[in-house]
């Protein structure tokens, strides 16, 4: 799910940026620094949308760098266990398939794909029901439930399932 939240960060600024453009420099450095980053707690920072306030700068002894506490609003993407969302399938193999929901990767193991869907290898590997009516392949859109998340310093990785009511393929690229 996407959220709009307020975060705080201490920005260090080199003295050469001081002057009347100090604020602009600070903001553009902030965007460069935080956009695209990911933390386990807040998820992926997608975009900075505004600055709440910039505190008083503190000169660091010995270097001349100044630290400003900056409060900013941003759009973050944070997946939660138990959340249901839609995703695009990016890769299919016999272990299961990978899907992407915005910046996050989700793996759905073949144990968590309904039992009546079988893996078919070939040019376009896919999972198909025995009657051929439902097919999951690259670029399919699926609705899935996140059942686990793994967080490391720069990435969040999710495990999902489509073995539940109202989950599964919502849009098959071959039928459009």
């Amino acid at each position: 799910m996407f959220f709009h939240i307020v975060l705080e960060r201490n920005m260090q600024l080199h003295p050469r940026y001081f002057g009347r453009n100090l604020r602009d420099n600070l903001v553009s450095k902030l965007m460069k620094d935080v956009e695209g980053t990911c933390s386990g707690r807040h998820g992926f920072v997608v975009a900075v949308t505004g600055i709440e306030n910039i505190g008083k700068g503190l000169i660091r002894d010995g270097t001349g760098f100044v630290t400003f506490p900056v409060k900013y609003q941003c759009v973050v993407f944070r997946p939660f266990k138990g959340e249901i969302l839609e995703a695009v399938v990016t890769m299919v193999n016999k272990m299961g398939f990978f899907a992407e929901a915005g910046p996050v990767q989700i793996f759905v193991s073949n144990h968590l794909i309904p039992d009546d869907m079988e893996f078919q290898s070939g040019d376009i590997p896919n999972y198909t029901t025995s009657d051929g009516s439902v097919k999951i392949q690259k670029d399919s859109e699926v609705r899935l439930k996140i059942i686990g998340t793994r967080v490391d310093a720069t990435e969040i990785f999710c495990i999902g399932t489509i073995k539940d009511d109202f989950l599964g393929v919502i849009n098959d690229p071959t039928t459009v």
Binding site: M1, F2, E35, T37, F80, E86, G102, P103, I146
Partner: protein, 138 residues
Amino acid sequence: MSGEEEENAAELKIGDEFLKAKCLMNCEVSLILEHKYEQLQQTSDDPMNQVSQVFEKSLQYVKRFSRYKNPDAVRQVREILARYQLAEFELCVLGNLCPETVEEAIAMVPSIKTRGRAQDDEAIEKMLTDLSLIKKFE
């Protein structure tokens, strides 16, 4: 972290910080990101180079999965859902997935029933009808 272990969106356990935060539906994110992208286009020749991969992927994703395109419809969806005493998170899941039946809505947002609110099937049904009307007249 012990808090991490107990996380479960189905029971609305998403941590205090996110529970109080403003959730955004995909269509709202789409409006925000497109606006930001347009601003970038004005200031640089090659905006795609300026943005992070996370931004690019998010923009593609929300464009693909936005149920409502025009800003008025997006505002209406939020207004309608706001009448039903939903948590922000529940509101956005419903807005994103647009369930068609009451059972589907409950399967998508189980907390709608368990939090002891007077949310009967009739009310949910009414809410879903209102939502589908916006879509129709968009």
